[in-house]
């Protein structure tokens, strides 16, 4: 039996057409701050070595989802895949959108951008989604993957994500339901950009 897909795209569970390309793992020194293990990387912190980037194995056919730093270093090699519409880019929450924007001429030439969230509590992913949609005017598929859990889905959707790869040990069906948690959000955001007072004629409640 094939593995069941855990990928949500536009409110439905679909098979993943994309092959995720990751860099070879290297041993990372455990960092500590105030006696505690550091769980989050600082925004803008460089985290990949040239060697890791060079040694990243890229499948030679099909749709590939490539790390931002690999794209930045190996553009020429990937140019034809990009032109063929077979290239998507993913970045970590501590990576800079400015780098993505300057590394790609037309952001909408990418059919897919994915943001990797290592820990669900890392709310930078929300600002990244928002900025991609509103500042960089990105229109194609925007996917969250990594520690993606149903209780953050409603927020991700509101910040412009339309695709979610639910963590493997959790049910995507259950997660789908949470997209409907709230019917009328107060504030304007990416999905519904008008705040409630511009959408609805609000009347005082009967006492």
């Amino acid at each position: 039996m094939p593995n069941k897909s855990n990928l949500i795209l536009n409110n439905a569970i679909v098979d993943d057409e994309w092959t995720l390309v990751t860099m070879p793992v290297v041993e990372e020194a455990v960092k500590k701050q105030a006696g505690k293990v550091v769980l989050f990387k600082l925004t803008g912190e460089a985290t990949h070595t040239a060697e890791q980037i060079a040694n990243t194995v890229i499948p030679c056919s099909g749709k590939i989802l490539v790390p931002l730093s690999v794209w930045m270093a190996r553009r020429e090699e990937l140019a034809s895949r990009h032109t063929a519409g077979e290239l998507g880019i993913w970045l970590d929450t501590h990576e800079l959108l400015e780098d993505l924007a300057s590394a790609i001429g037309d952001i909408n030439s990418l059919p897919l951008i994915a943001v990797h969230v290592e820990r669900f509590a890392d709310g930078r992913i929300f600002s990244i989604g928002n900025l991609l949609r509103t500042r960089y005017h990105y229109k194609n598929d925007l996917r969250a993957f990594g520690d993606v859990l149903r209780d953050q889905l409603f927020f991700l959707k509101r910040c412009g994500f339309n695709s979610y790869l639910i963590r493997a040990d959790r049910s995507a069906e259950d997660a789908l339901a949470s997209l409907q948690d709230f019917s009328q959000p107060y504030q304007g955001a990416v999905d519904i950009n008008q705040p409630v007072w511009r959408r609805v004629n609000r009347q005082p409640a009967p006492q």
Binding site: L39, G123, L149, Q187
Partner: protein, 558 residues
């Protein structure tokens, strides 16, 4: 006060449903402790020393009598018949069961209340001056904008998981009573030179482990832009605030690291994209919300009332209460009243279910069915007629709510401390009670005069010890409880952080230490000086000498 429409009601109802399911999944083992933690925290539920603690939101401190009755009922049914009013104007229950919380939230939703974002790394309850709308020195009543900010911040998707907690305070008075300089964002409302409502925006203040007073990010912001400007500030913080170390994760650390000029530059740059976006507030929306905060239907009354005047003249105890516990009002013939939750020898800020019911009745009978929670942990009836003060005082006295100590040494701000809170290093309530018993003589208290004493059981500073004229901080030394004393802190326009007096003290020494501080003040003061003025004039040294000079003869604990 603000009343929910169908949209507000749907949001709290849907929240109850969502949280019930989250609790079920946790109890069924579908959610790990770590995954459930931010979910329960964003619903105000802590796991405490003895039991969970549930923090219920009281937006900018406003309550209706119906809501307070419901809180009293909930405390009786699901807790031990009392609640604790906090320095964020919220109500905390110390003994609810985790399994009962969905039911409690459903009960709260029936009176337009909730526990949304009362904890966790998100935008917390907005706080305000407890005398908003009635204070004579008020320039702008900030409650309508506070309510608009409350709605905007509720489930704000981009700011659902910030590096750390985020607190906003609003103030529209000449004398700040909302400690806006000690908040992540402080919004100071004023009328600009065109007589339009404008906001001076402060950012980067906060108490806690590293106390810092805020800086002005923008001198003049038109009110329409308050939401988009806050979005710009919080976006810069969300992306660049430190997540690698919880102790350095508040916005104050980012502002300090960048410097206020660079931080402001980044905020302004971000705001250029957000300015005039749809979250810009319209005149119509402000008008809709402001209709909920119009003046009460006051009776036209003279500024004096003869029955009141004669009661003051003939009854010294009543006169003392009027002096300390009632406050000037915009409307002639009315006063605002503080019901003291600082009865000597009882946990500051605590009210029993019975007291909540009684205060709700007072609100209905004397104050248009509304009341407020002060960040000093007392309850306020904002609109009481002069002629009603005497009967109100008699009833409040019978209910243990009329200790005439507001603004005095025993009106102690105090967190729940080590008796309840799992974060605490030391107990705080017994210290407060011991000090209250030491200074139980009201005449002596009146002689000492205005003095704010704040106690926190740990450096998270829920008891605002840094801005107490006298601050007490519980510290842990090799597993035993000690208390560090600061003096010279102050809230208000001229806010300041206290200076550490010296090595810390054992619990039983504390009443004596406070006594010595008072002795120095009484010896050194000029006739018009408050404790804080004397400290500012003569400095910490004379206090230090008196306290430690004699201490050395006994035993030195360092």
């Amino acid at each position: 006060m603000y009343k929910y429409d169908e949209i507000d009601q749907a949001i709290v109802d849907e929240r109850v449903k969502q949280y019930s399911d989250q609790t079920r999944r946790f109890l069924d083992g579908e959610l790990t402790d770590e995954e459930f933690r931010p979910l329960r925290l964003q619903n105000g539920l802590y796991i405490q020393r003895h039991a969970p603690m549930l923090r219920i939101a009281v937006p900018y401190g406003m309550l209706s009598s119906r809501q307070l009755r419901k809180l009293g009922d909930i405390a009786k049914r699901y807790d031990r018949s009392y609640g604790h009013f906090s320095t964020r104007q919220n109500l905390q229950l110390n003994w609810p069961k985790l399994e009962d919380v969905p039911e409690i939230l459903a009960e709260l939703a029936t009176v337009q209340m909730h526990a949304i974002q009362t904890s966790g790394n998100c935008i917390r309850n907005i706080t305000a001056d407890q005398f908003a709308g009635v204070a004579p020195d008020e320039v702008i009543d900030p409650r309508a904008i506070a309510e608009i900010i409350r709605q905007w911040s509720t489930f704000h998707p981009e700011f659902a998981l910030l590096p750390r907690k985020f607190k906003i305070a609003v103030s529209g008075t000449k004398q700040d009573r909302a400690i806006i300089q000690a908040h992540d964002i402080g919004l100071e409302f004023y009328l600009d030179n065109q007589n339009k409502m404008a906001i001076r925006v402060w950012a980067g203040g906060g108490l806690g482990r590293t106390p810092i007073l805020g800086s002005v990010v923008r001198e003049h912001l038109e009110w329409q832009h308050v939401l988009t400007y806050c979005e710009a500030i919080i976006r810069v913080y969300n992306l660049h605030g430190r997540r690698d170390n919880a102790y350095k994760a508040r916005i104050k650390i980012l502002v300090k690291a960048l410097g206020i000029e660079e931080f402001s530059r980044q905020v302004e740059e971000e705001w250029q994209y957000l300015k005039d976006s749809p979250n810009t507030i319209t005149e119509a929306e402000l008008e809709r919300v402001a209709k909920h905060f119009t003046k009460m239907p006051y009776e036209p009354l003279p500024a004096h009332d003869s029955s009141f005047d004669s009661a003051v003249a003939s009854n010294p105890a009543f006169a003392a209460w009027v002096k300390r516990n009632t406050h000037p009002h915009q409307q002639p013939g009315y006063r605002a009243v503080t019901l003291s939750l600082k009865t000597h020898g009882q946990a500051p800020g605590d009210a029993t279910s019975e007291q909540m019911r009684i205060v709700a009745d007072f609100a209905d009978e004397y104050s248009f069915g509304e009341l407020r929670v002060a960040h000093e942990q007392n309850l306020i009836l904002a609109d009481v007629k002069l002629s009603d003060l005497y009967p109100l005082w008699e009833k409040a006295r019978a209910a243990g709510l009329a200790t005439s100590n507001i603004g005095l040494l025993t009106d102690i701000i105090c967190c729940p401390g080590g008796d309840f809170c799992s974060l605490a290093n030391a107990k705080s309530i017994p210290i407060a009670e011991a000090i209250q018993m030491q200074f139980d003589d009201l005449d002596y208290l009146y002689d000492i005069g205005d003095l704010e004493l704040n106690i926190s059981g740990c450096m998270n500073a829920c008891g605002h010890h840094h801005i107490g004229h006298i601050g007490i901080l519980g510290v842990d030394k090799d597993g035993s409880e000690w208390y560090q004393v600061t003096i010279g802190g102050k809230q208000g326009n001229d806010a300041s952080l206290g200076t550490v007096l010296g090595p810390s003290f054992a619990a039983e020494e504390m009443p004596g230490v406070i006594q010595k501080l008072i002795d120095v003040y009484v010896r050194e003061r000029t006739p018009e000086e408050r404790f804080i003025d004397t400290v500012r004039r003569i400095g910490v040294a004379p206090f230090k000498t008196h306290v430690y000079g004699e201490k050395k003869k006994e035993a030195v604990h360092a």
